[in-house]
Symmetry: C2
Subunit: 677 residues, 2 copies
């Protein structure tokens, strides 16, 4: 028999099966929407089967039980195995397939060639000249070397202009001398720098004849290729344990007057000639695009993280029976508690919102790249502004959402068996790397303030096409148009107007305050800092507009009517929930009335009940394989309790019944105490 | 020279010293307020010095670098050492001193006798009869045995009534037979159960002649006292790694028809006689008080956790220089960014609010105990309602606050060197244990709904004295009284009114909706569940009232005028920040105007600037010793960067330059790739 939910198997936990039987739509069809069509979905399943069949791609025990040394060794083993199987498993080096294959094999916590793939190779592709490409690319691409990207120092991350590592041109030897003049100049944080990499792209201040030309990038060999020992003049190591990503050897690096050939400067854009002549890059903002790309991909990945946590918690809530609602009717699935639904369903909605927005922004990125290749860089600053805000809002909400999912699992959520602790620590790092969130919001604010200035001056900038900031120029309705029947009919445009109204108002208000401070005699920069919190609020509000529209668009594009219906409920929940969250800003100027807000809140409760029967199927449609989430609670088959017991058997502490803690300390202590009774 | 800030030492990081020199009040005086007077403060310092001087109370390396096995062995070693030094270091077994001594020695992550001290001993004291006291107390108190409290099972935590472990009375052998009939009946989670304890208080369903008498407690020996091996009929072990508290061996436990003497049932309240007669306890709600006690202590502890995170992040923000505000003036301390202040100062304010509220609720607890001893149990339900809500709101806000502190440290916050990851994982567990937060909020709501019913019916219940819920009966002002001059003058009563108004309205509204659902034909229980989210909102609102009042009272009690002034700023920030946070509820019914809210928001910004010079001194006043927070970033002396480097040297990965990951896997792989170029 074919079910609407494609994940039903015989022998599954009956509570989970009965949930799945309630699906009002085909999960298969929704999965196709998520992953871009039937073909891609089938390929994902083939990759799962391939990995399933090859034992060397598996872990001998869950990584949660491994020390860092074991994790790193295990990950290195799998890198070699993955390389062996890659071409057999992945078609045409497809990036999505590659990513999926890697996720199934190495999981979330990282791998020794993460930075090599994500930063080192792309930098080599984009910042080298032809000669350098010839020399390095094939070797790097084939893993004849492993490289990382060493930018951050102990003393500087956000403010790259003040990096302290120096690269001083030595005309006599036609080389650069890399040096770490202070403790704070020590490179600190680069992934895989500590132990795995033998090369790095190093960012250092370029000095020629005592003149500083600012930060530049250099390819530096760090370790001997044969022995892997750190080269003389280089001190290198691991920075120690972190909140998460402990499989990654984030490293430190110090140079003691370490020489590299002049030709190791990345010469694709700027250049230093043998006589010390410095040649400037043609475009000032090189590399801008790469940042934007990473931040769009982050939106997608963070959406997937939240989807994973929601999958675990929703499935578990369907099999967890705790407490009684109506006496005599037995214990209920905790998914039946309104508070539980209110914890989880907004997370499901956000997971979809972010994932689908992530796909959208990736497409926008490709458009911008297309424009760039046609010599048009107009759309880049806007994309930069959007992705900066998006990265901040999404990573923040994903972090909060994952924790809600974890706590919704009660005590078992706190165990690593839930898989959520690791998920959280990996995801939350995204608030800090690739641009600290507050700093990013302030970046978005710069663009918003330029827009506000244009609005105030009445001079709309001439853009080549429609912009995501256009609504700021339009005098929308002064009153919220939401009627009583919130969940029915097409309330989406009226809801989007709410977000637009708030974003517009907060943007213009921040601009006003900024101007006010300047008129009060504060410097431009002090005024900016005095207004900074308001500025970040405007950026968040604008980002909400963007996500709301992107999510609404994605849902309206769904052809399958049953899927469309289920996803429309989720969209409504998403929008209503966000509106309640920004209630203050909507009420403050009378745009929305208390009654309208109350009925939106009511709509949230009604939507929770409406979504309840589809909840499990909505998360199922992400089709995460058990290998991906490493969660005993989130197992597809729902057989949680017996597998918790099995999982715990791996504990190193269970290797012997009696620990040295007893024989050496607690035993003698108790014995002595008893002898005195 | 004597400074207002008592923590200034020569040779400290000058940025930190110059912050401390800005103090407008005596930190010593504030510290005395926090810790209850000069004498207690001096004793704390003596304990620090004592621990400093005794090497066996120290760790050989930071616990962050230890495996679980090492941590547990290390903690066991320290338990023995602490026992040896206890009477020399701690005066008169004073509980606060004991706790502090233990914190300095074992830090946050737990110790093998944590449950013994916190649950096992107290249960022995309160639930045994005289004969049992005679038999067990001295032995337990002197650590002749180590016990834990085994209540939660895989299948049941919140709903204790459905625990599945059985204790069946066997008349023939005058014993109980303990049995775990299902997988889900496996005891799971009890701290120190896995490896450290040889005894446990076990909660099991009491069966006599096939009749079930509900859950009762039994003292069960689990392991042989000499060999420490699990006794026949008992399966026991560690449940595996968790988000935090990995020094604790939370355990699992299964019984296979395991016999214990009848006299091992805790007979202080209920009893089973030799012929199988069951004797009921006199009071139905025994143990209620203990729960309330733990939750009040939790408020204090969670306040301290947040204070610790705020200490780390605020000190670090004073020495971290990143970015320029005004060109040409060099890099600023990140503490100068408004966004940074907005991240941190509300956390400082909340830390004080929670800590001081914790002290207040502990005093209330002692009042209730006093009342109880006089045969008056009237105040217990109210205290239960308050502590349930308090526990939920405080743990939740502390979790969020700690993460804000962590992220405010940028990249270094993500390293275990910051100390904040561990702090977070330990603190956040509090959202789940001692009553899951949602469940606790719904408990508070029960009391609120009873109050609302009384308001509606016009029948105020006859209480013996003033109640924390009285304001619900009073028709406060219909309009918020906050004027323009928010930070000046005494705006506190007007601000407290805001919280009262919201709590009252949300309580009565939830009650209305509850009644409405019932009138619509829903069962009482379904109606409750349909209204559950609104109920939790009412509980949170009431809790805010309680904290606001307690904090305001504590500040108004401060005699030292300089301290009072600084703390009043913090109180104002606390209140204004919370008001902005609940803006929606204040605007919704027109109680507050948009302008009033805007000026409250403005007050927040002004207070940030006002608090800025005192920020470091405000956290300094908690006088956390470096041993307590384990944080390189939060060091008193501010020498962060060089100590980050030193800290990282401990990494196991740095023991050798080249890892097996290279020799076994990555090396051969790269070599092969190079050979094909
Ligand atoms: C998990 C992880 C992986 C990483 N991987 C790498 C890697 O592979 N390679 C690499 O080179 N680096 C890496 N990093 C470092 C990372 O890029 C930086 O930590 C990040 O950019 C933040 O910079 P910071 O640490 O200097 O934070 P800081 O700038 O010191 O932030 C501290 C606080 O100051 C505030 N602040 C700073 N500047 C401003 C401003 N102008 N306005 C307002 N507020 C401000 C911030 O908001 C924050 O609250 C990694 C970091 C992490 C956590
Ligand atoms: C760090 C830690 C230490 C612990 N130490 C001990 C120990 O020493 N000894 C011991 O015996 N136990 C211990 N526990 C177990 C702990 O007491 C339970 O996990 C806790 O009481 C929560 O119960 P649960 O796991 O059954 O959660 P569940 O009740 O399963 O919670 C799951 C979800 O269901 C919801 N839910 C459940 N009931 C209701 C309801 N009636 N209404 C609305 N929603 C509901 C919850 O809100 C939650 O979102 C520990 C747990 C942790 C995390």
């Amino acid at each position: 028999m074919v079910h609407l939910n494609a994940l039903i198997h015989e022998g599954d936990n009956p509570d989970l099966t009965s949930e799945r039987l309630k699906a009002s739509f085909s999960t298969e069809s929704l999965s196709e929407t998520i992953y871009g069509g039937k073909q891609k979905l089938l390929r994902r399943r083939e990759i799962v089967m391939y990995v399933d069949e090859h034992k060397e791609l598996h872990d001998e025990k869950p990584v949660e039980f491994m020390t860092r040394e074991e994790r790193i060794e295990n990950a290195a083993r799998k890198v070699v195995a993955m390389r062996k199987h890659y071409y057999e498993c992945v078609e045409n080096e497809d990036p999505a397939e590659t990513h999926y294959f890697q996720m199934l094999c190495t999981h979330l916590d990282g791998m020794p060639i993460g930075l090599h793939m994500g930063m080192f190779l792309p930098t080599l592709y984009t910042q080298t000249n032809d000669e350098q490409k010839e020399k390095w690319l094939a070797k790097a691409a084939n893993l004849g070397m492993i490289g990382t990207y060493a930018q951050t120092e102990i003393g500087h991350g956000t403010n790259l202009r003040m990096l302290e590592t120096t690269a001083t041109f030595d005309r006599a030897s036609d080389s650069f001398v890399l040096h770490s003049p202070t403790v704070s100049s020590t490179k600190w944080w680069p992934g895989n720098l500590g132990k795995s990499s033998n090369h790095a792209i190093v960012v250092a201040q370029l000095y020629i004849d005592k003149k500083c030309y600012g930060p530049h990038t250099f390819l530096v060999q760090l370790r001997d290729e044969e022995t892997h020992r750190a080269l003389p003049g280089i001190t290198i190591g691991d920075i120690g344990p972190k909140f998460g990503i402990n499989t990654i050897d984030n490293g430190f690096l110090r140079f003691d007057h370490f020489k590299i050939p002049r030709s190791n400067m990345m010469m694709g854009h700027s250049k230093v000639e043998a006589d010390g002549t410095y040649v400037k890059p043609i475009h000032a903002k090189v590399g801008y695009g790469a940042m934007v790309y990473v931040r769009s991909v982050m939106t997608l990945m963070q959406g997937a993280f939240l989807a994973m946590a929601a999958t675990i918690a929703t499935r578990y809530s369907a099999i967890r029976r705790q407490g009684v609602i109506n006496p005599g009717q037995g214990e209920v699935q905790v998914l039946d508690y309104q508070t539980q639904q209110h914890r989880l369903f907004p997370q499901i909605a956000r997971a979809y919102a972010f994932y689908l927005t992530g796909k959208h922004i990736r497409d926008m990125y490709y458009d911008v790249v297309q424009n760039l290749s046609e010599g048009n860089a107009d759309t880049l600053p806007e994309l930069h502004a959007i992705t900066s805000g998006l990265k901040s809002v999404v990573t923040h909400q994903v972090g909060l959402g994952i924790e809600q999912c974890r706590m919704a699992c009660g005590g078992h959520g706190y165990s690593q068996a839930s898989g959520i602790p690791l998920l959280y620590t990996v995801a939350i790092g995204g608030c800090t790397y690739e641009g600290e969130n507050m700093v990013m919001l302030l970046q978005t604010a710069r663009f918003l303030m330029r827009t506000a200035a244009a609005v105030r001056s009445g001079k709309r900038p001439a853009t080549k096409g429609p912009s995501q900031f256009d609504y700021i120029f339009v005098a929308g309705p002064r009153q919220c148009r939401l009627g009583q029947a919130m969940t029915a009919g097409n309330c989406v445009p009226a809801m989007v107007e709410c977000f637009e109204h708030v974003a517009k108002r907060l943007t213009l208000r921040a601009h006003e305050r900024l101007e006010l401070r300047k008129n009060e005699g504060r410097s431009k920069e002090d005024a900016w800092n005095d207004t900074a919190v308001d500025l970040t609020k405007a950026s968040r509000a604008h980002t909400r507009v963007f996500i709301a529209k992107a999510f609404a668009k994605a849902v309206s594009d769904i052809a399958d009517s049953a899927v469309s219906k289920a996803m429309t409920d989720l969209l409504h929940l998403y929008l209503s929930y966000e509106i309640v969250e920004i209630g203050t800003s909507l009420l403050e100027d009378g745009f929305m009335s208390g009654e309208q807000l109350a009925s939106t809140q009511k709509a949230v409760y009604e939507l929770l009940a409406k979504i309840r029967p589809n909840a499990v199927s909505l998360v199922d449609a992400f089709e995460f394989d058990d290998r991906e989430h490493h969660s005993v609670l989130g197992r597809r088959d729902g057989h949680v309790y017996e597998n918790l017991l099995k999982w715990a058997q791996h504990s190193e502490l269970n290797k012997s019944d009696v620990l040295p803690a007893f024989t050496k300390y607690l035993g003698p202590m108790m014995k002595e105490a008893r002898s005195k009774l």
